[in-house]
């Protein structure tokens, strides 16, 4: 039996879904978009839920070069098995800029302004043997 996939956090992105999208809130009065929606940046009655676009431009990036401390990090790696991972901000046109893990950790693959696309990646296994998944952005090929 295939492992069940569970989101790292309910309400962060639509899941399960064939076309997962990040869930944000738009403030009615100002049009400002806040992510994630689960965070009460803005009162429910003053805002509405919006699903964010999945394509955007790389606003900035870095490569996480060392194993983050646990807590708060819960990745499965040890100091020995750790591999650097990319992190960036992606500008979703007309909406908001979101912070995300990137699917590449090679600086040569990354250029500010390049097209990026959202995807879902496996992150770790939880205590029940489920596969915990989270969102990430990948360079658009071609």
């Amino acid at each position: 039996m295939a492992k069940q996939q569970v989101p790292v956090q309910e309400g962060l992105f639509t899941w399960p879904s064939d076309n997962p999208q990040l869930i944000a809130r738009r403030e009615k009065k100002t049009g400002r978009v806040y992510f994630p929606a689960i965070h009460n940046y803005v009162a429910d009655e003053d805002s509405e839920e919006v699903l964010l676009g999945t394509r955007g431009k790389l606003y900035t990036w870095t490569i996480q070069g060392f194993l983050p401390k646990n807590p708060p990090y819960k990745g499965p790696e040890t100091v020995e098995t750790f591999k650097p991972y990319g992190v960036g901000y992606i500008e979703l046109p007309g909406e908001v800029i979101v912070e995300s893990r990137l699917t590449t950790a090679d600086p040569k693959d990354l250029k500010i302004g390049m097209e990026m696309e959202m995807t879902i990646i496996p992150f770790r296994e939880d205590e029940k043997g489920n596969e915990v998944v989270t969102f990430a952005f990948a360079p658009v090929k071609g």
Partner: protein, 381 residues
């Protein structure tokens, strides 16, 4: 209203001091500051103090004496020292008291800070998936800045190189050896484009400053340093700050821009009037961006200034003359006060091997940190 002066300064060496608590290092700094101006602890009417990881500042009275004074604890992230100073300034300015202490100390565990999502008002997924690191934020912010203003990554190495060069001249600094540019550029890449040697480390240390009204100051010293401005500002919607799962589409000016402007207005002086400058250099990129945000240059001019030596002790805008955070480490509670300590020393002409020449008259300090705040001071002798 009275002018406010700094009459006594004390420091406990930054770095690592095994066998001594953060609080003991804070108490040491207070005793040094008292000695510096010939006062005794019972002369002190009030205190503002802070520490991020070293315990409650007001417990210093256990070490210094139970004299019954007003002692307020300040907790304001990286601006903790700046906020303690601001509060002490206001108490004297308002005529409430004549003489008091601003003190900060800390003792952090080794390695990068491990942040708690909940205490920053975030959900656990953010920390869990490896997005909650201050180092990442610094890397991403300077990555964007270098790109937008066409600066080479080597400019980051030049900042660190200067920090170690100045630290070598400072007996209270933690890092006291020069590091060559190649070693800095080729050291472990922690968060692209920032390498290991470009970051400051969490550390230990304590600083205390004794403030007095001008009238009282004259009684104890013939060389008071005047606190001409103290300002503290927080972020606006749209600024690019640490631990942000999202950013607005449009950038707002950084909190430093507002704190800096307020300080210049308060003092009636401008960046061109500053003879010695301490600005927040949590890592090399911060010094680059803060040069512009504090008005010392335009965006993109930094590389030229660094390459021509303008920010060296011998340059026309001596910057982080004590080695800054990069050479001293960052005990959060003490860090902002260390900058003021250095400027007072420089304005008195007592900075020894790292003394800025030609009798500096005016100095500037700036801290910046989580969750998007900044505090600045302007001092004159």
């Amino acid at each position: 209203m009275t002018d406010v002066c700094i009459i006594g300064i004390g420091i406990h060496k930054f770095g690592r001091t095994d066998g001594m608590s953060g609080r003991q290092q804070g108490a040491f700094a207070v005793r040094e500051a008292l000695k510096d101006c010939g006062l005794e602890w019972p002369d002190i009417q009030f205190a503002f103090g802070g520490s991020a990881a070293g315990g409650n500042a007001d417990s210093l009275v256990n070490e210094l004496g139970l004299t019954g004074i007003q002692f307020v604890n300040v907790s304001n992230g990286c601006a903790t020292g700046g906020s303690a100073l601001l509060s002490a300034y206001s108490a004297i300015k308002a005529g409430q008291y004549d003489v008091g202490v601003a003190v900060g100390f800390d003792k952090h565990p080794r390695g990068a800070f491990n942040a708690d999502p909940k205490s920053s008002g975030l959900e656990t997924w953010y920390g869990e998936t490896g997005l909650m690191l201050t180092t990442q934020f610094f890397g991403m912010k300077i990555q964007k800045y270098l790109h937008d203003h066409d600066l080479s990554p080597e400019v980051l190495g030049l900042v660190a190189q200067k920090a170690f060069r100045n630290g070598k001249l400072n007996p209270n600094a933690w890092r006291r050896e020069e590091v060559d540019l190649g070693t800095i550029m080729n050291s472990e890449m922690l968060s692209d484009p920032l390498t290991k040697y470009m970051f400051c480390s969490p550390a230990e240390g304590g600083v205390a400053l004794i403030l007095a009204s001008e009238k009282v100051a004259r009684r104890y010293t013939n060389r008071p340093v005047f606190l001409r401005a103290v300002s503290m500002k927080t972020r606006h919607y749209g600024s690019f700050e640490v631990f942000s799962p999202y950013l607005a589409l449009q950038r707002a000016p950084a909190p430093t821009v507002f704190a800096s402007k307020a300080a210049y207005e308060m003092a009636g002086l401008g960046p061109e009037d500053m003879h010695v400058i301490q600005i927040q250099d949590t890592e090399s990129g911060a010094e680059i961006m803060h040069m512009a945000e504090n008005g010392f240059c335009k965006d993109g001019e930094q590389e030229k200034l660094l390459r021509e030596g303008a920010t060296e002790i011998t340059g026309r805008m001596p910057m982080n003359t004590d080695g800054g955070c990069i050479a001293n480490g960052e005990p959060i509670g003490a860090s902002g006060l260390r900058q003021v300590y250095e400027v007072v020393l420089q304005l008195r002409g007592e900075a020894g091997a790292r003394q800025v020449q030609n009798n500096p008259k005016s100095g500037y300090t700036h801290v910046y940190g989580a969750p998007g705040l900044s505090a600045c001071t302007i001092l004159q002798n």
